[in-house]
């Protein structure tokens, strides 16, 4: 699809908005509808659209496989790391109320936000990986 001018231009126009919207959905998970999972999927949809229109090599230039693989692990690590952090602060595993914040509610929100970031990163990168593997060319 590299010779489709309309597709190429529209993709270049749309992808930034999709990425911003995905980040918005992840970051506002505890305030509005959505959360890490939905935001991660929207982010991945942006990257996958880019990969479909511009080709896999271009997608690999933008997000190298090493980065995608590493981030998939980083998301889970961030989630579990918040749990370990709360244990180091004297609470239970994933007991956000001990996190440093102005008050108890803000501590809970901080924990939720960090955890949602972890979910979003993992979901986004795994979706990109699944697309990457499924659309492998030269394989029958």
């Amino acid at each position: 699809m590299k010779d489709q001018v309309v597709l190429r231009v529209m993709t270049k126009l749309l992808v930034p908005f999709m990425l911003v919207f995905g980040c918005y959905v992840i970051a506002h998970g505890e305030l509005g509808p959505g959360g890490g999972f939905q935001g991660g999927v929207i982010l991945a949809a942006g990257f996958i659209l880019y990969g479909i229109v511009y080709g896999k090599p271009e997608l690999h230039r933008v997000v190298p496989r090493r980065v995608v693989d590493a981030l998939a692990g980083m998301g889970v690590l961030l989630y579990a790391g918040v749990g370990v952090w709360t244990m180091l602060l004297g609470g239970r595993f994933l007991d956000y109320s001990v996190l440093p914040a102005v008050d108890y509610g803000a501590a809970e929100a901080l924990g939720m936000v960090l955890v949602e970031y972890g979910v979003g990163i993992t979901v986004c990168t795994v979706m990109i990986t699944v697309y990457d593997m499924i659309s492998e060319e030269g394989r029958s």
Binding site: P33, G35, R65, V76, M112, V119, V130, I134
Partner: protein, 233 residues
């Protein structure tokens, strides 16, 4: 007729038509596209039931990513099925039987939106009365301790929060106490008005963590099974 019910009936009718189209169409690409349309209709139905988070997930995962992944799979196969769809009687029997049991099971459920349903009169009241790990009106933080849920008493002077939340206008004392959007003040002092996220990320944090681990494992399994070594460079 209730307009919400009317919209629901139209959307559900369309969803049934699309579902029949999915299994009867011969073009695989057409089936994938109809599947995406089905997910979009379901997202509208969830939205109509005020389940915004479910609708969001259905739209992004069902209509978005699943369709893309199925189209990617289509690249490796032919565009059409090689056999015309035929009715497989044992399969139809199994499906109809399971569906009848499920519908029979729903007969015991309270009516949709019934304010007197047990979830609104019993369980939610109990949850709102529970103060483990929460801050009460005086700002005291109740840390978790074993058996603390069983020990504490359910306050009886609290008003029962009905669903849908009662319409209140600005300036109303009850609206101020209940926080934004008519939610109970259970939402971590207003820091997390989205109850779904606070349920998934805080109350059921372990659950969500292992769901994330499952997604991670699925991705790693695909990498290990399908990626060729010479491409790693």
């Amino acid at each position: 007729m209730n307009s919400v019910l009317l919209i629901d009936m139209v959307l559900l009718g369309l969803a049934v038509i699309v579902a029949i189209g999915v299994i009867s169409v011969r073009s695989l690409l057409g089936a994938v596209m109809l599947g995406g349309i089905y997910s979009l209709l379901m997202a509208l139905i969830w939205q109509n039931m005020n389940a915004v988070d479910v609708a969001f997930t259905e739209a992004s995962v069902g209509a978005g990513i699943s369709t893309v992944l199925l189209v990617g799979t289509l690249l490796h196969t032919r565009r059409d099925t090689n056999q015309s769809p035929a009715i497989h009687w044992p399969a139809l029997f199994a499906v109809v039987l399971t569906g009848s049991f499920l519908i029979y099971g729903t007969l015991d459920m309270p009516a949709y939106g019934d304010p007197n349903a047990p979830i609104h009169t019993g369980r939610v009241k109990e949850l709102l009365g529970q103060h483990v790990g929460k801050v009460d009106r005086e700002g005291n933080h109740h840390p978790w301790k074993y058996g603390s849920i069983a020990e504490q008493s359910v306050p009886t002077d609290e008003p029962v929060h009905s669903y849908p939340p009662p319409r209140t206008h600005a300036g109303d004392d009850h609206a101020a106490a209940a926080g934004a959007h008519g939610h109970p003040e259970d939402d971590f002092k207003g820091h997390s008005p989205n109850t779904v996220t606070s349920l998934l990320a805080a109350y059921r944090g372990y659950d969500t963590m292992f769901e994330t681990a499952v997604i991670f494992t699925a991705g790693m399994a695909m990498v290990l099974l399908l990626r060729r070594r010479e491409e790693d460079a």
